[in-house]
């Protein structure tokens, strides 16, 4: 499966890029995050993040489709 991953805030700094293409053999958002966390050393546990798929909030148990755009969102701090 190929996904486009978007990074924001502390995750963007840790990844060193605002987005990347990732090829991984899973359709599970948790497994995808675990792989990315290991690769980039992200500090956030999944419980601290929200998931967005193709520009909309999604659940962690969302089944991903090839080509999806996925973002893992740290706690927000606007305003």
């Amino acid at each position: 499966m190929n996904y486009r991953i978007l990074y924001f805030a502390a995750l963007r700094d840790a990844a060193g890029c605002d987005s990347e293409q990732v090829a991984i053999d899973t359709t599970d958002a948790r497994q995808l995050y675990a792989e990315l966390r290991e690769r980039h050393g992200f500090a956030f546990a999944p419980a601290h993040l929200r998931v967005a798929v193709n520009g909309e909030f999604a659940r962690w148990d969302r089944v991903l489709n090839d080509g999806d755009e996925v973002a893992f969102l740290p706690p927000v701090s606007g305003g």
Partner: protein, 148 residues
């Protein structure tokens, strides 16, 4: 009409407030959020906002729709800055017009509270001592879902 915006340039509150004027609106309440020179005991010299723009505008529009449904109000405008800001700069502006003041105050409060909690925008503070960092409030678990 677009009622929730992100802006890379300074906010012109006067223009936004004019859009809220309607003949049936006897009340207009606005909220201005500005960059403070201190946070959590540290001297701040500036900050930068980063947004997931597509999702921020979609979630912002949802929050405005909720306010329009929950309160007897006439019109709403919300705008949030992205990019680098200095002390005193306007970071977020919320304006609500309504027939009467109670609904305008209540809706304005609802809007700014929900924007701060839900819209994917992140603040990176730069401190006078040279350090900087992203604010990820309280670092406690967040909801992993909204409306399925």
């Amino acid at each position: 009409m677009k009622v929730f915006f992100l802006s890379e340039s300074p906010i012109d509150a006067a223009v936004l407030a004019r859009d809220l004027a309607h003949t049936g609106a006897g009340a207009c309440v606005t909220f201005e959020g500005r960059v403070r020179d201190r946070n959590a005991g540290r001297a701040v010299c500036g900050l930068a906002y980063q947004a997931y723009a597509a999702l921020a505008e979609a979630e912002g529009a949802r929050i405005v729709a909720e306010a329009m449904q929950q309160f007897p109000i006439v019109d709403v405008r919300c705008i949030h800055r992205v990019g680098a800001l200095e002390i005193g700069d306007l970071a977020v502006w919320v304006g609500v017009s309504a027939a009467h003041r109670d609904a305008a105050f209540a809706a304005c409060r609802y809007l700014i509270d929900e924007i701060k909690q839900r819209v994917p925008i992140w603040k990176k503070e730069s401190y006078v001592d040279g350090e900087s960092g992203w604010l990820h409030p309280d670092n406690s678990p967040v909801q992993s879902e909204v409306g399925g």
